[in-house]
Amino acid sequence: MSRAVTVEYFAVLREERGVEREELETEARTPGELYEELRERHGFRLSSAQVRVALGGEFARMDAPLERGAQVVFIPPVAGG
């Protein structure tokens, strides 16, 4: 079943993807599956084990259910401070 989601990218992922955000249709049932799909399509260097995810502005599990209309942000290893 295909669902429309919005994905926002930061840092190295933003550079590799070439856009800050996009709306797309996906069969992925979880953020983890979505990341794998995008990684294969765009050649992201980071593995899914190396990124975290936020859904609707809060940290979420990579195996959380991906709902229609989800606001997804993939979070590369952080480096504040």
Binding site: E8, F10, A11, V12, E15, E16, R45, L46, A54, G57, E58, F59, V73, I75, P76, P77, V78, A79, G80, G81
Partner: protein
């Protein structure tokens, strides 16, 4: 208590609290070299809503754990030159012991948890995202 991101140089009035005897401020600044290489600048970016929410959680957890009277943190986004302050953490406690401990603890948590990233640009032109390669 607040955790804020700022596109402008860090400023503002110092923390104050009538019951606090110990005030500790930490400031993290851009170093001129890293790993033996000369640094030109750092470029910081953040997923702002989650960075502020997670930063606020870190401060609240520290307030409870260390019995603080107040705590505040500000983190830059944008391009920072060598010597510029990237982050400032201020804490107020009744006594210095908890103020020192909390300030260090908060900085460690910020570096671990907050969705902020920095791109290190070296003087030789090479650049990479810290902790991410590329």
């Amino acid at each position: 208590m607040s955790f804020r991101l700022s596109a402008e140089p860090l400023g503002g009035a110092p923390l104050d609290h009538p019951e606090a005897g110990g005030f500790v401020t930490f400031e993290g600044r851009v170093r001129a070299e890293n790993g033996g290489r000369a640094v030109e600048r750092l470029e910081y970016e953040a997923y702002v809503p989650l960075a502020e929410a997670e930063g606020a959680r870190i401060l609240e957890e520290a307030r409870e754990r260390f019995g603080l009277l107040d705590a505040r943190a500000t983190h830059r986004v944008g391009v920072l030159e060598v010597g510029e302050a990237a982050v400032r953490v201020e804490v107020a406690g009744r006594h210095r012991a908890e103020a020192f401990a909390a300030c260090a603890h908060i900085m460690d948590r910020i570096k671990e948890r907050v969705p902020i990233w920095k791109k290190e640009v070296f003087s030789d032109g090479e650049a990479h995202w810290v902790n991410s390669g590329g």
